[in-house]
């Protein structure tokens, strides 16, 4: 299991880096799907099968497909790809890269202070549902409102 965790982690990391350095949108999207699926595996390993399922279905499935459709609508061709290559100059990366390195160091510094091992306990769909529609009901309602708002906004924005 541990092996699976590290393996999936490595896949997720490599796929993610590929996303941000890729010049082709569709390639990048495929790498992103791989990264998401890898994370889904990690969820599974961590004892959250429901989350893993949702990650695979909603994230990697629905959302990424949405991306794909939009890419098709935009129909970005070779010109865009050349442009991307021109934009990906190393000197652009230096400043943000350094800053973010500092951030990463800070984050890791914060995170490694506690040495606790996790023994994954599987949380089933049933428990989750009880929680969701129990104490978290208000959050669910809010989420539904958010989705509705997103729906309406997207409809308006994409309209001609």
């Amino acid at each position: 299991m541990i092996l699976l965790f590290y393996l999936a982690g490595a896949v997720a990391l490599i796929a993610t880096i590929s996303v941000i350095v890729s010049t082709n949108v569709v390639h990048a999207l495929v790498y992103l799907i791989i990264s998401l699926l890898a994370v889904a595996v990690i969820f599974f390993v961590l004892g959250a099968p429901f989350a893993a399922m949702l990650e695979a279905i909603v994230y990697a499935g629905a959302i990424m497909v949405l991306f794909l459709f939009v890419m098709m609508m935009l129909n970005l061709g070779q010109a865009t790809e050349d442009e991307e290559k021109a934009w990906l100059r190393p000197q652009l990366w230096v400043g943000p890269g350094l800053l973010i390195l500092v951030l990463l160091v800070q984050l890791v510094n914060v995170l490694v202070t506690q040495q606790v091992d996790v023994v994954p306990v599987e949380v089933g769909v049933r428990e989750l549902s009880v929680l969701l529609f129990g104490p978290w009901l208000l959050a669910v309602e809010l989420a539904s409102m958010l989705l509705l708002a997103g729906l309406i906004a997207a409809y308006h924005l994409a309209k001609k």
Binding site: G95, P96, V102, L103, Q106, L107, N109, V110
Partner: protein, 636 residues
């Protein structure tokens, strides 16, 4: 009758309201009847009240109309107080006022602002009556300011000429300086005595203050400030000569007979305070003396018929102040009365001259009017005789009383007396100079007009033939005032009970003789100098050479300008004030706030530079901030 005292100012006030509310729509005849009639009613009532009051044994009568305001201990009433002094003032104001109103119906007959003129006149009479009737100083102040307002309105009556407006404003502002001093005096009196009722003040003051104590000196000095402003005495005399811009009946009523003597009335009314402050009282005498001499010298050099009379008014009020200053209260009031008669007469006669000569003011463009304007001529002769105090005219008795009282002043008696006599001598010269230049000699009316002083602002300078304009309404007041100027000296003013003393002055025959001789000598000199008589050729030559010499010319110009007081005040007060006002027109404080705004704007421009519009930049700033905050959290 006495309880109808409230109606005295009510009649003219009603006249004012009637004329104002109809806004000049009334026919002239009716407007005139309202204007004159209301004052006439006041006079009739005043006469009746006088008869009743003098017939009774009462020393005073108080009539409370209503409580004006009641705040704490401060409860001035709208209440009138009648005693001998009030009675004299009432008769002068309503009587002379009535005559001048009557005269005005003729003088102003062709003026488009006929009704407006009479409305202001009526308001003036009402205010003046309130002034003299008031039983407390606040109500007196109401009348005091009211007459000042009417004076302003009437000086600027012909408003389309900015010069008149300037004169009017000058009159108001300069007297307001005095009024403010008086107001402060009122505050001081109230704070110290807790009342502003005049009679109470007069009773309380001697109990509260010892003679010459600081408070009473301050209070009486402040009141003197008010009196000096209103009565055009040094150092606030500059407004009166300019006030001649108003129609001539105004000059007669307001700037000769009544309003300008309000200062004299005020000091006489509050005489107890001045008696308690001998230093201020002697100051009053010296103010009067200085003013009468200064104005006398100035009058010698004036060319404008009305300005000569104006300076003579200033000078005569100087005599009244001199009288007040030496404690000759009733002499002052007596002179006030006779002066009202003869000065009103002189002004009205001058009005006739001016009107007949198509608004000519310069006496050197008149000449030989003796035959053409007989009524005016005789009026002038009588008036000038009384003004000069020739024997047996009214002015003789009043001025005599003042000079004798001055002589009796223990400390400075001789000095004051000599000054007064010198003033009398000057009076004789300048008043008969006017008579001789304007009415004798050759006719100069057709001389080329190098400049003209025209108080109408009308541009009709085609001089028609000279014809005296005297209807009944204009001649009758002249005749009555002429008679009064002659015999007014035999009237006794019933004021002894008010001042608590009966004044009688005795002097040696030598002094008397001297005082009779001086004016006559003055008239003689004036005759030799100005009538063009051959006997006076030497003197005339001397005067001419004096005028042409550098010193004499400079002195003439200095006197002509009223001793340079106008220029001085201009330099000291007006110019700095205007300059300061113009300098700070934009308001320094506002500019300070403007500076704050500018500072905010500059910092805004600096901060705006960070707002590039690039998403990346914002994200980086965000992360930078995040790193900073975490950094502080982790390592600090």
């Amino acid at each position: 009758m006495l309880e109808w005292i409230g109606l005295l100012p009510a009649f003219p006030l009603a006249g004012f309201l009637a004329l104002v509310l109809t806004r000049g729509k009334l026919p002239r005849r009716i407007a005139g009847v309202i204007g004159v009639g209301s004052v006439g009613l006041s006079f009739a009532l005043a006469a009746a009240i006088t008869v009743e009051f003098l017939g009774s044994d009462a020393l005073s009568h108080t009539q409370v109309l209503w409580t004006w305001m009641s705040v704490g201990n401060f409860t001035p009433g709208f209440s009138f107080y009648l005693d001998g002094l009030t009675v004299v003032m009432l008769l002068i104001i309503s009587g002379v006022g009535f005559l001048i109103h009557l005269y005005s119906t003729g003088f102003m007959a062709d003026d488009p602002g006929f009704a407006r003129f009479f409305s202001y006149m009526n308001l003036f009479v009402a205010s003046m009556l309130v002034l003299v009737l008031a039983d407390n100083l606040v109500l007196l102040y109401l009348g005091w300011e009211g007459v000042g307002l009417c004076s302003y309105l009437l000086i600027g009556f012909w408003y389309d000429n900015p010069a008149n407006g300037y004169a009017a404003r000058k009159a108001f502002v300069v007297t307001r300086v005095g009024d403010t001093s008086m107001a402060i005096g009122l505050f001081l009196l109230f704070q110290q005595l807790g009342t502003l009722n005049i009679q109470e003040i007069l009773t309380l003051a001697p109990q509260q203050w010892s003679e010459g104590s600081g408070m009473v000196v301050a209070a009486s000095a402040l009141l003197l400030g008010g009196a000096v402003g209103k009565s055009a005495q040094l150092p606030l005399q500059t407004w009166l000569p300019d006030a001649m811009a108003g129609p001539t009946p105004i000059s007669a009523l307001i700037h000769a007979a009544t309003m300008v003597t309000a200062g004299v009335y005020l000091i006489a009314r509050t005489h107890v305070l001045f008696e308690l402050a001998p230093s201020v009282q002697i100051l009053v005498a010296f103010v009067g003396l200085a003013t009468l001499l200064m104005a006398g010298f100035t009058a010698l050099t004036q060319r404008d018929i009305k300005r000569i009379l104006a300076y003579s008014t200033v000078s005569q009020i100087g005599y009244m102040f001199l009288a007040l200053g030496v404690g000759a209260w009733s002499a002052a009031i007596f002179h006030l009365m006779t002066h009202a008669f003869f000065k009103a007469l002189l002004f009205l006669a001058a009005g006739t001259v001016i009107l007949s000569l198509h608004h000519e003011h310069d006496i050197f463009r008149m000449g030989g009017m003796r035959k053409k304007l007989p009524v005016a001529f005789w009026s002038f002769v009588i008036g000038s005789a009384a003004l000069t105090a020739l024997p047996f005219t009214s002015g003789f008795y009043s001025k005599d009383a003042i000079l004798l009282a001055a002589l009796e002043q223990p400390q400075y008696g001789t000095l004051l007396w000599l000054g007064g006599v010198l003033g009398a001598f000057l009076t004789a010269i300048y008043s008969f100079r006017l008579v001789f230049v304007a009415f004798f000699g050759d006719d100069h009316t057709q001389d080329a007009h190098a400049h003209h002083s025209d108080d109408h602002g009308h541009d009709d300078h085609h001089h028609g033939p000279v014809k005296e304009i005297t209807g009944f309404v204009m001649a009758a007041p002249l005749v009555i005032l002429g008679i009064l100027s002659l015999v007014g000296g035999f009237i006794t003013v019933p004021v002894d009970s008010v001042f608590g003393v009966h004044e009688e002055h005795h002097a040696s025959t030598l002094v008397h003789g001297f005082m009779i001789a001086v004016p006559i000598f003055g008239v003689l000199i004036s005759y030799l100098l100005y009538s063009g008589a051959p006997q006076g050729r030497v003197l005339q030559q001397w005067l001419k050479s004096m005028r042409e010499s550098a010193f004499g010319g400079g002195l003439t110009r200095f006197w002509f300008s009223g001793w340079g007081m106008d220029a001085l005040y201009n330099l000291l007060f007006v110019k700095p004030f205007v300059a300061l006002a113009q300098l700070n027109r934009k308001d320094l404080i506002d500019q300070f706030y403007g500076l704050l705004v500018e500072l905010a704007r500059i910092s805004n421009r600096a901060i705006v530079l960070t707002q590039t519009g690039y998403l990346r930049w914002y994200a980086i700033s965000l992360i930078g901030g995040l790193v900073l905050v975490i950094g502080i959290g982790v390592w600090a």
